[in-house]
Amino acid sequence: MSKIIELKDVNKWFGDFQVLKDINLTVSSKEKIVICGPSGSGKSTLIRCINRLEEHQKGDIVVDGMTLDANTKNIEKIRSEVGMVFQQFNLFPHLSILDNCTLAPIWVKKKSKKEAEELANQYLEKVQIVDQAKKFPGQLSGGQQQRAAIARALCMEPNIMLFDEPTSALDPEMIKEVLDVMVDLAKGGMTMCVVTHEMGFAKEVADRVIFMDEGSIVEEKPTDQFFNNPENERTKLFLSQILN
């Protein structure tokens, strides 16, 4: 399988504090990886570097053959090929769900309004909230909002989807509806990088699980080996805490 994301010796500092230490990671096309680890371990920062919401200071990041650097045109091109879903949904509160979804196709991909709406309806159907299309984000439940945010990202027809703790801000009964959509997406063959503590999701979907601590990748293994046969002490401790 071809490499779609490649990180080489990536380092990042917030002031004096080093958040990422010599990260090396390769993701193949259509691969699903789950990144987990204690809070403050740099896992969110890592995936935010992939679409350059954060700038890395040292090392190389290549996404879909394009190197991330100060070249703005390149960054916008990469962002339109990499979808991202946030912990806090970040839907645009002044736009309806439909307009949230058609915004980027119209302004970035220069699609006609009609085309964009057809596309949006298709993805809203996929996340099962097409009946809420005319409503505003404030009128939806958390789970519906997160599904709308997934549809918004899908409307740009990305090759890669990044998820930054997509279920952490949700009430327990709404977590499943969002995870179901993500499982569906995974089965459809999307390349996915997911930061999550939902180990059930990881076991079901992930090809590989990555455990991070204090800015470094501590353990990186195929899913069943990761859960059945972890080597590192910190991984074992983390798993025992999170699985019980």
Binding site: N51, L53, E76, K77, R79, S80, V82, G83, M84, F86, Q88, N90, L91, F92, P93, H94, L95, S96, L103, A104, W107, V108, K111, S112, K113, K114, E115, F136, G138, Q139, A149, R152, A153, C155, M156
Partner: protein, 398 residues
């Protein structure tokens, strides 16, 4: 003592049975007291005025004003009535407030956005601008522009001339007056071309939504606009000539006649009101933009929108809701501050009506109350308009 306590207990029992009396009776007492105070003062005033032989009433408004006003949007001379003088003053107040609000808004938005720029030089310049003009008293700024800048312009026979078009001297700034021939044909043609373009744009927009066919609306609109207007100008024999202000000398006094003149008082006042108020608007704009959650910008960036698109489509529409209410306050302040006109003798409503007319007639109560009512009406109108605008902007959220 025992009797008192017994009576208080009785009263408490009564109030428990009729709770509404307990709520409304004190309010009734306060209103009654206010009524008594107000009627005492007005009776006192009317007795005193009657004793001194001062007439009350609004009949004086029809009397001849017999004073001149230096700057007026409508025809006015000393034979006109006080009512017309009031109208002249009101229009002058509206003029300077309107100009002030327009420029304060434009400058304020520009400076407010610049202050948030990542370019350090730009943001520091914007910050310096805000700190300077916000912290100097408005009256002093008016004096500065009027006495220290505009009064230093050369005399009439020595005017500063820009591009042979603008003539500036100590008496004001003069520009040529436009004289049209067959202006009505041109206006009809202009409106007609706008209508055609509007129809064309809405039809092609519908077509695009239906079929996805993109028509170059902008270019086509320009072609329609120029074709129609050229035909109208050519066949309707529309003409435009400029009447330049001419320097005339009369008994040794030099003066520009003709053209359109703007008096230095208006320039100084509009200038200082705009600059002063723009600093406050800039701060409102900055607060509004900073009030938008960082996640909104990140989400917009993550779907590939450019920086300019994020500002236009995501940040400003949301920031407007935070910005509008405090900006309304600034509009009200500007309108009320325009009464500082009196300090440099710009003939606004306070100077003309609550000043000259009051001195001449002595109708203090009538004139001051009319003027106060006028400002109240102006302020309430601005508030109503801005509340409507705010509602229109914020209704979409839920």
């Amino acid at each position: 003592m025992k009797l008192l306590r017994k009576n208080i207990e009785k009263l408490n029992l009564f109030l428990e049975n009729y709770p509404k009396i307990g709520i409304y009776f004190p309010q009734f007492l306060i209103i009654l007291l206010l009524g008594i105070i107000i009627s005492y003062f007005s009776m006192n005033a009317s007795t005193n005025m009657a004793a001194r032989g001062i007439e009350t009433g609004f009949g004086f408004l029809a009397n001849k004003a017999s004073f001149d006003i230096q700057f007026s949007l409508i025809d006015f001379d000393s034979n006109d009535s006080y009512a017309r003088a009031y109208l002249v003053g009101l229009l002058n107040t509206l003029l300077v407030s309107g100009i002030g609000i327009f420029f304060a808004t434009v400058i304020g938005f520009f400076v407010g956005i610049t202050r948030l720029s990542t370019n350090i030089l730009a943001s520091k310049v914007a910050e310096a601008y805000i700190e300077i003009f916000r912290n100097i008293p408005l009256l002093l700024q008016i004096f500065f522009w009027y006495f220290a800048v505009l009064r230093l312009l050369p005399s009439s026979d020595n005017s500063l001339i820009l591009f042979n078009f603008v003539f500036a001297n100590i008496k004001g700034i003069y520009i040529p007056r436009f004289i049209w021939e067959n202006l009505n044909y041109f206006l009809y043609g202009f409106l007609f071309s706008i209508l055609i373009i509007y129809l064309f744009v809405s039809i092609s927009k519908k077509k695009q939504e239906k079929t996805g066919l993109q028509v170059p609306t902008f270019t086509t609109s320009l072609i329609i606009f120029f074709t129609i207007n050229f035909l109208v100008i050519y066949f309707g024999q529309v003409g435009l000539t400029l009447s330049y202000p001419v320097l005339e000398t009369n008994r040794g006094l030099h003066n520009y006649m003709g053209g359109v003149s703007v008096i230095p008082e208006l320039i100084a006042l509009a200038f200082s009101l705009s600059l002063y108020t723009s600093t406050f608007i800039a701060e409102c704009v900055r607060a509004g933009i900073l009030g938008i959650d960082k996640g909104q910008k990140e989400a917009a960036a993550s779907i590939g929108l450019s920086k300019a698109q994020i500002l236009k489509l995501i940040v400003i529409p949301q920031a407007l809701r935070i910005i509008i209410p405090p900006v309304t306050n600034q509009y009200l302040n500007l309108t009320k501050n325009s009464s500082l006109a009196a300090a440099i003798a710009y003939p606004d409503i306070v100077l003309v009506f609550a000043g000259t007319a009051l001195m001449q007639t002595g109708k203090a109560i009538e004139i001051v109350s009319i003027t106060m009512l006028t400002y109240l009406t102006l302020s309430v109108s601005i508030s109503i308009f801005m509340n409507w605008y705010n509602k229109k902007n914020s209704i979409a959220e839920r």
